[in-house]
């Protein structure tokens, strides 16, 4: 797959790769964002072409910083894009809402990926409401091909309206592979230029803000006409039943209606905000009934009802509010069939198999940290049920599963330290531990630490530093000295930040030294003040990928008594029990040796060192 193939080439592309190609075709110059499934592959794909195409493609510390960087770049007239998952938009919302008043000059595309299901997100947030809140146009593709087209068009639409634009996707578009026909790459020879215009760009003048609000509302009135040129809204088939849909849901609707030869008109909306009422006012009067098939909230439904009211039409509307479409979870053809009153296939027999939730990886340094913490809690004479472990977003949250089973909360980026602090402010009388990963600390944990230090609470804070954004597929952090595109960076070290903030204690430890880590935690757990432990060891998968010499362990069959102690203590996925004996999957073992420490029969031995 060569993303730079000439126009007319048909490639199998994942939605996110198609978006990357769309941005290339639009001549984008600055791309930034924060990793978040299912949005991350856009930037990861573009990294490879940064040098050849002279595009700045780098991760930012968080979504709001990313947006502001992209926004600043777009004000020079260059084209810029920023990518994030839905909760990231919450973080970026403050500057985005202000940017609507100032507008942009170069095309500025905000990619936000929603996650109906949810598959990898804390909530089923519907980011379509943000378009309405921020008063910015939003478009939404249904397939990888459209993902490419819409991305490219988004830049032109943004420039024509002088407004940032949301490109809103969902998991089944971002992470779906489909055939994509490549288009022409625009060659824009633009020079960065920023003209001073205080009325427009300074949001401190209230009279100016009122003026800009009028301007913004005027721009929004033009959106339907501007977007109309590109035919993003489409109609398929004919019939008195009208099915209104958008995004991934369109695919289910189209297939069901085609397969069952339902006499219906499919109205597929590509423009979600402002709601295309002009377009719909021509179609809706021909409908006897309207079924709305959409994922997440009844956003279309609300707007369709408003439109019908304005048109004076009394047409029955079916959708989420009539329970024809569920309010939670993602859609599929089965749900669409049911909503249309069609028969559904009966699935084969479902056999119950024990679940396999994602564990910490073999050799994960976090496993050591949690084992040490558990031991330290026991040794301090405390119970696991009385020491809240306030967790954070990232791999460390996988410690919630058996048998590590440590986490009490996982909330939102950076919330661990401040929520733990809240417990202490409320005078919770047992020790409280906050656990946060390195990238999450950079993203949103720094302010929380300042708050905790400044307010003088008693808190043990563990920063689990594996030197990478691991959960989302190994992206860079501000501690790196080189970006993914090979640019030299100045590393910002966590210990320097922590030291500057000034907690009562700061210890850096390698969790692979289990005894030392346990001793330190035991020592700090009951001490007063803010105590920070940086547990530093590189992500085991990253080390393996980088070709670090590897050790592998094996179980000596004759010695193994099948006590499962190795498994219960670690939950390492390279270990399993078969025929009453422990086994190690050689190619998965990352040689950390943790399991061997828990075998009383010395059955787990070092097998080989390779690499």
């Amino acid at each position: 797959m060569n993303l730079l193939s000439p126009p007319g080439t048909k490639l199998a592309l994942m939605g996110n790769e198609a978006i990357a190609r769309g941005a290339i075709e639009a001549g984008v110059k600055v791309v930034t964002g924060y990793p978040g499934t299912p949005s991350s592959e856009v930037i990861m794909t573009l990294h490879k072409f940064s040098k050849t195409l002279n595009i700045y493609v780098e991760w930012a510390i968080n979504e709001r910083v990313a947006f502001e960087v992209a926004y600043g770049a777009s004000l020079t007239g260059l084209r810029a894009m920023v990518t994030m998952k839905a909760p990231g938009l919450n973080v970026a919302s403050d500057p985005i809402i202000s940017a609507a008043y100032s507008g942009t000059t170069g095309g500025l595309v905000i990619l936000v990926a929603d996650d109906p299901g949810p598959h990898t997100t804390q909530t089923e947030q519907d980011s379509r409401w943000y378009a309405k809140l921020a008063k910015l146009p939003m478009i939404s593709p249904s397939s990888p091909q459209e993902a490419k087209e819409f991305t490219k068009l988004a830049f032109s639409i943004s420039e024509e309206l002088e407004l940032p634009i949301f490109l809103r996707t969902s998991t089944r578009v971002n992470h779906s592979i489909g055939e994509v026909l490549l288009g022409e790459v625009e060659t824009l020879s633009r020079f960065p230029l920023f003209r001073r215009n205080q009325q427009r760009f300074v949001r401190a003048g209230m009279a100016w803000n009122l003026e800009r609000h009028v301007w913004l509302n005027n721009q929004l009135k033009k959106v339907e006409e501007v977007v109309g040129k590109y035919y993003l809204n489409k109609v398929y088939g004919d019939g008195k039943l009208c099915v209104v849909t958008e995004g991934a849901a369109f695919n289910y609707v189209y297939e069901v209606i085609k397969e069952h030869e339902v006499k219906a008109k499919i109205i597929k909306l590509g423009l979600l905000y402002p709601f295309p009422s002009k377009f719909l006012s021509k179609i809706l009067p021909e409908c006897d009934e309207v079924l709305i098939v959409e994922e997440l909230d009844p956003y279309l439904e609300e707007n369709i009802k408003n439109t019908l009211f304005d048109l004076g039409l009394k047409i029955k509307v079916y959708g989420k509010t009539t329970n024809h479409i569920p309010l939670e979870g993602e859609l599929n053809t089965r749900i669409v069939k049911k909503a249309l009153g069609l028969p559904v296939e009966s699935p084969g027999k479902h056999v119950h198999v024990h679940p396999r939730p994602p564990p910490l990886c073999p050799g994960c340094p976090h496993r050591f940290t949690f084992v040490a913490l558990k031991t330290a809690i026991f040794r301090s004479g405390l119970k696991l049920s009385e020491v809240p472990i306030i967790g954070d977003i990232g791999c460390s949250a996988l410690s919630v599963y058996q048998p590590i089973n440590m986490l009490w909360t996982e909330h939102s980026m950076g919330a661990s330290v401040s929520m733990a602090m809240g417990l202490k402010i409320a005078e919770y009388d047992k020790p409280v531990v906050a656990v946060i990963g390195d990238s999450t600390f950079f993203h949103a944990g720094i302010q929380s630490l300042i708050e905790a230090v400044n307010k003088r609470v008693d808190l043990l804070i563990l920063i689990l530093d594996n030197n990478v954004v691991a959960m989302t597929g190994h992206q860079s952090t501000p501690a790196w000295d080189k970006s993914e595109t090979g640019r030299i960076l100045k590393p910002v070290l966590i210990e320097d930040i922590v030291r500057a903030i000034g907690p009562d204690e700061l210890v850096i430890v390698d969790p692979y030294n289990l005894d030392e880590t346990t001793r330190i935690m035991e020592e700090l757990l009951l001490k007063p003040g803010v105590k920070v432990v940086i547990a530093r060891h590189a992500c085991a998968l990253l080390e393996k990928r980088l070709g670090k010499p590897l050790k592998t362990y094996t179980v000596v069959d004759e010695r193994c008594k099948g006590c499962k102690s190795c498994l219960i203590s670690t939950g390492c996925p390279a270990l399993y029990i078969e025929g009453g004996k422990a086994k190690i999957i050689t190619e998965d073992c990352n040689g950390c040796g943790l399991c061997s420490k828990f075998c009383a029969y010395e059955a787990i031995r070092l097998l080989e060192v390779s690499g």
Binding site: I177, G348, P355, K564, I577
Partner: protein, 200 residues
């Protein structure tokens, strides 16, 4: 051509998604329409992973429902059993003889054995082939090529996509040594079908 629905059941890290990618790419090289999707869970590795692939003339939906799979390709026995309800009554199952119980499966006592998983599957759907894929891959020096052995068996049995496109897709998606081993493993899968005159 009616859309062909293929489900890949695996443990994260076994290469189920690479397998999906190779199938999708080779189908597009052959001029077909394709959609894939995945249920990845929250982590990238070691959890249950399901990949959906749909190949046909004009495909829209990237997923399909239980009872709609023409083929279930299993890279691990327990994961294949878990997803058996996806298979149509006329559907077929190709599964690697790979047994990796999860933590909870290992802790369950008695824990279900390799042979029990296989016989349970056979009792539900006899259109099942168990392939010694790990052994074949190990002979090539890399147990991770197990996914490509299963791909070879699938292509050998179904004739979809055409062999030359699959090999081209492998070398486009993978690089260097892993591409070489993958092509060889794929061919070993094909050979396994002819050598044992398999049909399903």
């Amino acid at each position: 051509m009616k859309p062909l629905n293929i489900l890949i059941a695996s443990v994260g890290g076994q290469g189920g998604l690479t397998l999906a990618r190779v199938l999708a790419t080779s189908a597009v090289l052959q001029g077909l329409s394709v959609r894939t999707s995945e249920s990845l869970g929250m982590a990238q590795r070691y959890g249950s992973v399901v990949g959906y692939i749909r190949i046909g003339e004009e495909i829209y939906s990237p997923i399909f429902e239980p009872g709609e799979a023409d083929y279930l390709l299993g890279l691990e026995l327990n994961e294949t059993l878990r997803n058996l309800h996806y298979v149509k009554p006329s559907g077929k199952i190709i599964v690697a003889d790979e047994y990796r119980p999860s933590y909870e499966m290992s802790m369950a006592s008695p824990n279900i054995t390799r042979n029990e998983v296989i016989s349970e599957m056979l009792s539900i759907n006899p259109n099942l082939l168990v392939i010694p894929a790990r052994k074949i891959a190990l002979k090539l020096g890399n147990p991770r090529a197990l996914n490509m052995v299963i791909l070879g068996v699938f292509v050998g049995l179904s004739g979809i996509p055409r062999i030359e496109y699959v090999e081209k897709a492998i070398s486009e998606i993978l690089t260097g040594i892993s591409a070489e081993i993958s092509v060889v493993a794929f061919r070993e899968g094909l050979k396994f079908v002819t050598k044992n005159s398999l049909n399903l």
